[in-house]
Symmetry: C2
Subunit: 84 residues, 2 copies
Amino acid sequence: AGDSAAGETKATACAACHGTDGKGTSPIYPNLAGQSATYLESALKAYRAGERGGGMSAIMSPQAQALSDEDIADIAAYYASLTP
Amino acid sequence: AGDSAAGETKATACAACHGTDGKGTSPIYPNLAGQSATYLESALKAYRAGERGGGMSAIMSPQAQALSDEDIADIAAYYASLTP
């Protein structure tokens, strides 16, 4: 499992769209607060692999490609830890 | 905007994985309760179009391909209306 404290530090780039509290800053962006960490890891890895197209993937794929497996686990743990 | 009452009826197939309360029945499935309806519509349309691969897309794409635009709007409104 990821380290949510490390994830908070790594998630600064995410907050522009997903909010500092994990609530999307526009309706087009999903809320991430309280989401399943396992699901979030799966989604980020699909974006990173270029498998997940459509939606906002033109933004998410490059973001995810900058992340290691550990980064992804930490960021997922961070958002999962937030109150929806 | 979709009709959340109609969406509840249309979402019976979704509940096996996403829960009758919009909470995923396994950590691999995202929680949908309280998610942005706009985002949910975007995600379902990307699955329907075959753009969104990876993750559980082998299940989600066929499910979404059975849905009209109205169905998607209704189902999205339903999950957005639930308490996270």
